[in-house]
């Protein structure tokens, strides 16, 4: 008898797209140009943002005629133009709902044009429940073209599975509908945090951020360390960061190194490395273990990035300050027991195309409030 899978509950709020996830993955794989095979407006905002990171994104601009008559010729034309104009060393071709529904074979265009550089083809559309599907598909294709190793592929796949679970448990996929929320007032939260520091309370300062978002999230942890130092309680703060630069795709390693160098230069002492920049779904477990062993009696914790990936076991009794960039993450975090939730709105766009830490609003607020101390 066929086994019925349990029906996945409906989720109504819009969520990250698999097509966009594939685009970001191709960027992490140092792809020079990506061709989106589909309508001109598809994934526009992210396509544009990715150019800040140096990856070109172009579109075959399928229109009504293309939907009806197919887009093979358009793809061939764009592929030829891309080779001529950008002289890329690595090309990506990414599907969209439109081209996949009408049965476009991305590979046919590649066979016809025969580029002499590797082409990563991703037969993706936006109709997958979890956007991580787009990442897996891009990685599968990269594996098939020999761009990543089997070991790296398996590692990534395991991480993505964890990431999907994290979102299901306490993230964007945890409820039928999540109300967006701007979070608590930064001024008030900063006030409370400074109060605790001034009382000589002991605190954990944890960065668990997803990839390049760490460029701004790290600024929050940096600010916490700086203000504690300034108030004379620097030694009460323990810093943990997911900035291991020996794991992950080339870009993630590079970024981890850049952020670490920046932190060091500003006198930030890293007490524990809890994982790499792509290990945010599991680095929380490492942090949890370390906290259980050494810091379970601490009074408060600041967690920036993906705070909901940190298990509550050992931080349950601490006053929690979490910083997220997702307005839809506020409610789940509060429900988990995070007392203060701060949202750094529009954080991601500001972390593209950078190689140094970017100032955060919450970090700036903290610094401003101890300016005259």
């Amino acid at each position: 008898m066929p086994v019925k899978k349990e029906k996945e509950p409906l989720i109504m709020h819009p969520r990250p797209s698999s097509i966009v996830a594939a685009l970001y993955t191709l960027r992490d794989l140092d792809t020079d140009v990506v061709i989106l095979h589909g309508p001109p407006g598809c994934s526009f905002k992210h396509a544009r943002l990715l150019e800040e990171d140096g990856m070109r994104v172009v579109t075959t601009s399928l229109d009504e005629t293309g939907f009806v008559f197919g887009g093979h010729d358009a793809l061939v034309e764009v592929l030829e133009k891309v080779i001529e104009r950008f002289n890329p060393r690595r090309i990506g071709i990414v599907g969209t709902c439109a081209s996949m529904i009408i049965g476009e074979e991305l590979h046919e265009a590649v066979t016809q044009v025969q580029p002499d550089v590797p082409v990563i083809e991703v037969d993706v559309h936006a109709g997958y429940r979890d956007n991580t599907k787009g990442v897996v598909m891009a990685l599968e294709s990269a594996l098939a073209s020999g761009i990543i190793s089997e070991a790296e592929f398996e590692r990534q796949k395991a991480l993505l599975k964890e990431a999907t679970l994290v979102e299901k448990r306490h993230g964007a996929a945890s409820k039928e509908y999540l109300e967006p929320n701007r979070g608590d007032l930064k001024y008030k939260v900063a006030g409370r945090l400074l109060e605790l520091i001034k009382q000589g309370k002991k605190g954990l300062n944890i960065l668990n951020a997803k990839k390049e978002t760490a460029f701004m999230f790290a600024d929050i942890n940096l600010a916490v360390a700086q203000v504690a130092q300034k108030l004379g309680y620097g030694s009460n703060i323990v810093n943990m960061v997911n900035l291991d630069d020996n794991v992950g795709l080339p870009k993630n390693r590079r970024n981890a190194r850049e952020i670490k160098d920046d932190l060091k230069e500003k006198g930030f002492e890293i007490h524990h490395i809890i994982g790499g920049l792509d290990e945010y779904p599991v680095a929380g477990n490492t942090a949890d273990r370390i906290i259980g062993e050494k810091y379970s009696d601490y009074d408060f914790a600041v967690i920036s990035g993906v705070p909901h990936a940190l298990p509550m076991n050992n931080i349950n009794n601490m006053e929690l300050f979490s910083v997220t960039n997702g307005p839809r993450q506020v409610v789940p975090l509060k429900e988990m027991g995070h007392t203060h939730v701060v949202v750094e709105i529009d954080l991601h766009p500001k972390t593209l195309g950078v190689s140094h830490i970017v100032e955060s609003e919450f970090g700036a607020t903290l610094r401003e409030m101890v300016k005259d101390a």
């Binding site: 066929p2 086994v3 019925k4 899978k5 349990e6 996949m100 529904i101 009408i102 049965g103 074979e105």
Partner: protein, 263 residues
Amino acid sequence: MPKQIAIYGKGGIGKSSTASNVAAACADEGYRVTIIGCDPKSDSSITLLQGRRIPTIMDLMREGIDIKEEDIVFNGYKGVKCLEIGGPEPGIGCAGRGIIVAISLLKKISRAIEDTDLVIYDVPGDIVCGGFVAPVKKGLVNEAYVLTSGEYMPLYAANNICKGLSRLEMTLNGVICNSRGALNEEKIVSEFAKEVGSQLLAFIPKDVLVQTCERDGYSVIEKAPDSQIAAVYRKLAKSIMGKRDGKIPVPLDDARLRELTRI
């Protein structure tokens, strides 16, 4: 590698009945046969299953079932493996996308399309949208056959299919005439086959037995094995199983097509 064939032709011309009779005839000869219905109305394998309807791949997908091979492959007449892709009711959704999704799934989970001697894809009507040529595009078909009568419209459709095949750089391995009793029919279809660069493999006469057996849920091979028409299907089956190379067809222009039907 098994012989993987698809039978194309004008809607209603007799593709499904020819496919199931050929499947049954090959099974009689001891071949392992798999038939895959690519038609949303899922009627390709009924006559191999004594009139029983099997759950379609798309039905199971819609129900959210974690599909295993045994959920979708059913043993029919003499062990012919029967699969139906299924799809939406007419006028709803996108049947072509259904075929693409189902074919990708089959490639992943099914041994039935590999551990076998003959796979027959039974496709509806003329080549419609991209989805209906998915078996060809995904490299699962290595031989194509066109079924037609000697009348103008079925030949017109057959010629269009030749256009489609040549665009896909797919070979045409033979033309089959399913008679509708037109004048000089065998000669017309035979000439058409030659001119597009192929050959006439069989002339199947119009025989009410096909319909009566079908109504009871059987192929003529099973229900009327000693009939004349059963012998014709057997001969066709032999000729399909015999090694033969195909050529990418060269479609005719419309004027020539009209002329042909006036022979």
